[in-house]
């Protein structure tokens, strides 16, 4: 009698475990979710980093642009200082 009851318990548990295994399966996150999450935690992808480092033309233009911009600002500041300073001395 006791053996039969424990057999039935084991059977119940086996059935329940089978159903749990069928229900709690690993799901595939929706498309793009992993990429969106990556962007949210601001991690550039390995490919992006490699691409950035290899794109020497862009790097050259960015560096050149920054330097030219700074030179322009310095020139304007010097010109302003020259004209304003001259007016004050006259």
């Amino acid at each position: 009698m006791t053996t039969r009851r424990s057999d039935s318990h084991a059977e119940d548990f086996n059935r329940l475990e089978t159903h749990l295994a069928g229900t709690l399966k690993r799901v595939a996150p929706p498309n793009g979710i992993v990429q969106r999450l990556r962007e949210r935690i601001t991690l550039p992808t390995r490919a992006t980093i490699t691409l950035r480092l290899h794109d020497w033309k862009t790097l050259f233009f960015v560096f050149g642009g920054v330097m030219s911009g700074m030179l322009l600002l310095v020139t304007i500041a010097r010109a302003l200082y020259y004209f304003v300073g001259r007016r004050h001395t006259l």
Partner: protein, 190 residues
């Protein structure tokens, strides 16, 4: 990236020194697992996305404090996820209750869609029951069935001994079986 060139200790050391690329590799390895855990705990894809992002943000901010004391990195991540999910449930309890009974069905990996439909009603009933269990029992079932973890691995995450996990698992099955009987739900054998 293959598993062959993946040395977690080395990557962890680099990540804890602020190497974002190294952290990116950890992210790639664990993001799907953490998403699954949060998804089953919240029952909502959007919340799962938001909370998963927060898990990794927190991990990235605190990885310097992560010291390997025999606890795997995955266990550390799951603990962060567990805490954030617990906070989320607490905040949700304070605000207006929105029933989370409809778990949006995401495709199971490698399942035929028709097979999904056949089982969906039974699965929904079972999922509802699981979501009514205490959080630690839900954790246990998710880690055991979704992540296929052993009792020892689950014990590391839940800070319990292997024996305690085994015992909790047994009690959880008993409780689920009783609930099924109470609701006169009969799970058909496969």
């Amino acid at each position: 990236m293959t598993d062959l060139d993946y040395n977690e200790d080395e990557i962890l050391a680099r990540a804890s020194q602020g190497d974002r690329d190294a952290f990116g590799r950890l992210y790639e390895r664990y993001v799907e697992r953490i998403f699954n855990y949060v998804y089953y705990r919240t029952g909502n894809v959007h919340e799962a996305e938001d909370l998963t992002a927060r898990v990794f943000q927190r991990a990235m901010n605190h990885i310097k404090n992560y010291t390997d004391r025999g606890v795997p990195f995955s266990a550390w991540l799951y603990r962060i996820a567990h805490n954030l999910v617990a906070n989320w449930h607490r905040d949700r309890g304070r605000k207006q209750e929105v029933p989370l009974d409809e778990l949006p069905s995401l495709p199971n990996k490698g399942d035929h869609p028709e097979k999904n439909l056949v089982h969906s009603q039974e699965q929904e009933a079972l999922l509802k029951m699981i979501r009514r269990l205490p959080p630690e029992r839900q954790n246990l079932l998710i880690l055991k069935f979704v992540e296929n973890m052993s009792n020892a691995e689950i014990g590391e995450i839940m800070k319990r001994s292997e024996g305690a996990v085994k015992s909790l698992y047994h009690r959880t099955l008993l409780s689920l079986r009783d609930q099924l009987e109470d609701q006169n739900l009969n799970l058909e054998g496969d």
